[in-house]
């Protein structure tokens, strides 16, 4: 199968959706003429015209709110917020409006809106352009959240997001845009709420998100030679979350590590640990370890940022600690 980058996979998905359904349109800052700040929408305005790929002013609330209104009134908008950091500027529209309107109005209306947004650190973009805020959104009922970790899943999940009748926050790890992988050419979907066991193992379960999945796989491969057999699970969607796959794995191994780029307190790892503590505690043979970013904003300088982002070393330290429990 041909291999393309995650960016290209998303571009292809967007293109195929624009082709299949004339109700689909894209809206965001610099998505049209510039092709998106990360080139994800490159070429789309040229092909589909400025009426379907719309450049907006710098008005995040207007962008998301606009998407909500359009979705209510018969369209299927895909809006973009240039960085997940900017969701904080229009949090009201996302959390109070998009997430709640269907519920508040007793199920009268559907809001088939997709909000695409890049997240993650790694290139010195510093505090306002590097956050990983998905945990915040996991806390808001009414929002689905997709979290692809590779090109194949990215395309499939985006297609599912567009076809979903509910608001979906589609988060793209900006450091994965260049990642290459096999992607089918045709249109296909990946169901939400279905985690992927990326690597089977026996001794330790690692649940990781976004780019951290690849780091976990790398560590698992390396430690195999030391006789440690690690199972790596990629949730793929954070809401709905496939907790059954995670629980089954923890029941098998008895040992759990979560790896996530969000900050520590109330991060993704915290929720997984809580679920396990509630539903499978008697299977635990060792403490649950959360590998996460520290409780600070993302620092700028390279030495500081390197310390900040969870590394393979950090994962290995966690594994080492767990192996002390037999």
């Amino acid at each position: 199968m041909r291999e393309i980058t995650l960016r290209e996979a998303l571009n292809e998905a967007l293109k195929q959706n624009l082709q299949r359904d004339e109700r689909v349109f894209i809206m965001g800052e610099d998505v049209g003429c510039f092709g998106g700040i990360f080139q994800v929408t490159a070429g789309l305005m040229e092909e589909f015209g400025p009426d379907r790929v719309i450049d907006t002013p710098i008005s995040e609330s207007a962008i998301v709110g606009g998407g909500i209104g359009a979705a209510l009134n018969g369209m299927r908008p895909i809006v973009e917020l240039m960085n997940i950091d900017f969701t904080l500027v229009c949090m009201d529209q996302i959390a109070n409006q998009a997430a709640k309107m269907r519920y508040m109005f007793g199920g009268q209306m559907n809001i088939p809106l997709v909000i695409r947004t890049p997240s993650g650190a790694g290139r010195g973009a510093a505090a306002h352009h590097s956050q990983s805020l998905h945990a915040l959104f996991m806390h808001i009922p009414g929002l689905k959240i997709a979290a692809p970790s590779n090109p194949h899943d990215a395309k499939g999940l985006l297609n599912t997001a567009v076809s979903d009748e509910n608001p979906v926050l589609f988060i793209e790890d900006k450091m994965l845009y260049n990642m290459k992988g096999p992607v089918p050419e045709e249109y296909y979907t990946i169901p939400f709420g279905q985690a992927s066991i990326r690597r089977e193992g026996r001794d330790i379960t690692i649940v990781a998100t976004f780019r951290m999945v690849n780091k976990a796989l790398s560590v698992a491969q390396e430690l195999l030679s030391k006789g440690i057999n690690i199972e790596v699970i990629d949730p793929r969607t954070l809401c709905p979350l496939d907790k059954e796959t995670i629980l089954a794995s923890v029941r098998k191994t008895g040992k759990l590590i979560t790896v996530d780029e969000g900050t520590r307190c109330n991060g993704f790892g915290s929720e997984i640990a809580a679920i396990v503590a509630e539903e499978a505690i008697e299977c635990l043979q060792a403490p649950v370890i959360r590998v996460s970013a520290p409780m600070t904003p993302v620092p700028y300088g390279p030495t500081l940022e390197k310390f900040y982002i969870p590394s393979e070393e950090n994962i290995k330290e966690a594994v080492s600690r767990l192996m002390g429990y037999g």
């Binding site: 002013p57 600070t296 300088g301």
Partner: protein, 308 residues
């Protein structure tokens, strides 16, 4: 202006070489605005800046050594390597911070101005923002609030005609952003952002008015950035700007204009100007040397400075 220009040019080179991580949004072409405006200020006055903040920093009196060090991510930088290009600040200089979130400076400038009013400190706050930012909710809220309370703030819109790739005609319904001021019951003025003296005069009046308690002014400086939105913007913005347009604006280079003006009016001699240029270049080289020699912070330092 020379310092800003040479500093930014140095960053072009250093960024390309990978010594400046992250993003760099350079001020080349817009020097007149920062310099013209900040020259009106007293040392105690304050400014809020944008992601394109190097010019404001230097104009407000920043030392290029810790600035360059900050851009390199070194511990000796203004923000100990934690902020970088987009988040440089120096409280002692009255520079309240460059910001990565467009439009976020307005409410903060207002707050500082409010405090100045409450403490009767006589300070004035300059709030720099761009044409793109003038469309954010935060801007509108700030404008209304400042006018309502007659805060000692001057809103300086650096209209360089583009919000990244989107030309003003495609993002704003108005021709002049200054026209918005009427909607908030404050004076709105347009100035030639490529003419440092014009900026100086216009902003000077606004600053005086603010200091006298007459409230805010919206000063729109028509200017242009000669390079792309960020370093790495292909062909210096050629994807969304025509080369002829760029060339046309380049003929209005503020440094070139001031030079010509000074020589023409015989206010300065060629030799003096040459000396200024040489001096500025040397200072930039010194800053480079300083930054290169400075150490990086230890990884653990990431955990410091969160709380007081």
């Amino acid at each position: 202006m020379l310092e800003i220009r040479y500093f930014e040019e140095k960053i072009v080179d250093q960024y390309a070489r990978g010594n400046v991580p992250g993003l760099a949004h350079l001020y080349i072409g817009e020097e007149a605005v920062a310099v013209g405006a900040c020259t009106c200020l007293k040392e105690t006055d304050l400014i809020t800046s944008t992601h394109r903040g190097h010019g404001h920093c230097i104009a407000k009196g920043a030392d290029m050594k810790p600035m360059m060090a900050e851009l390199f991510g070194k511990r000796t930088g203004y923000c100990k390597g934690k902020g970088g290009s987009m988040h440089i600040a120096s409280l002692s200089l009255g520079m309240l911070g460059a910001m990565g979130i467009v439009g976020s400076g307005g409410p903060i400038a207002n707050g500082a101005a409010l405090a100045a009013k409450m403490r009767k400190s006589g300070q004035v706050v300059l709030c720099f923002f761009g044409d793109g930012a003038s469309n954010t909710g935060a801007f509108h809220e700030s404008a209304n609030f400042a006018a309502l309370h007659k805060l000692p703030v001057v809103f300086i819109c650096e209209n360089n005609l583009y919000g990244i790739s989107v030309c003003m005609t495609r993002h704003t319904a108005l021709k002049n952003i200054a026209d918005r001021a009427a909607g908030y019951n404050m004076p709105g003025v347009v100035a030639d952002g490529m003419d440092v003296l014009a900026v100086y005069k216009t902003v000077g009046k606004a600053v005086e008015a603010a200091r006298d308690g007459k409230g805010p002014t919206l000063v729109e400086c028509k200017t242009y950035r000669f390079r792309g939105h960020f370093e790495g913007d292909p062909n210096l913005g050629a994807r969304y700007r025509k080369a002829e347009e760029v060339e046309e604006w380049k003929t209005r280079c503020p440094i070139k204009r001031l030079k010509e003006y000074l020589l023409e009016k015989k206010i300065a001699k060629r030799g003096e100007i040459d000396h200024l240029e040489k001096d500025a270049r040397e200072r930039v080289e010194d800053a480079m040397a300083y930054a290169n020699a400075s150490p990086f912070p230890e990884g653990r330092e990431t955990l410091e400075d969160l709380f007081a």
